[in-house]
Symmetry: C2
Subunit: 128 residues, 2 copies
Amino acid sequence: MGRYDDSYDANRSETDETTNLISSEKVDGTAVYSHDGDKVGHIHHFMVGKRNGHVEYAVMTCGGILGMGEEYRPVPWDALEYDTDLGGYVINIEKERIGQTPSYARDQEPTWDRSWGSTIYSSYGLPY
Amino acid sequence: MGRYDDSYDANRSETDETTNLISSEKVDGTAVYSHDGDKVGHIHHFMVGKRNGHVEYAVMTCGGILGMGEEYRPVPWDALEYDTDLGGYVINIEKERIGQTPSYARDQEPTWDRSWGSTIYSSYGLPY
């Protein structure tokens, strides 16, 4: 599991261990930046695999920026990188492309099936 | 990442995909059963690696059972298995041993350092 993940151990040290972990209760509000360095929104919640315990999507809300205030955008975990200096996640696409990624209204939870997953992943240029 | 994890793919099918994922907002209340099949508590929140996106601990509360109502118990992810029939997690130790695992008061968030992690893992018989 996570403990044996190379990228995880490479980043671990005595000093940063505490901040390596975040409570699922506290992810709401973590900043998300575009590839170009602009803040484009924040994380609202994670979608987690019940069995494997891996975050599959970080669901982002853009808080009115780009006119996407009332929507949720699921971002594949592989499209995000945590930046310690920024204290938030950097998304691997340009700001202009974010508006073209799949989203849903806050009161309309999608069905998290293969079709939806494939649509999301391809919009971020990732294999599903 | 999660997508390529063997155990995950083995469990994935067209029909159960939707329920494979759980929102981090909704983990609170998921039942936890002992190895012997008794319900011993429920999950309150997850502790997630910010960088690797893996749940490292499921933090359980026992809701008064076994006299541990006012405490949180961090359970290593590797000590849990999701049981679809039960609709909850089964913990890999006997009910009697749960009272001996590390816990903390709700108003006393621990420092998630190596020492604490090692203590938790060893109490569940897992290498750290």
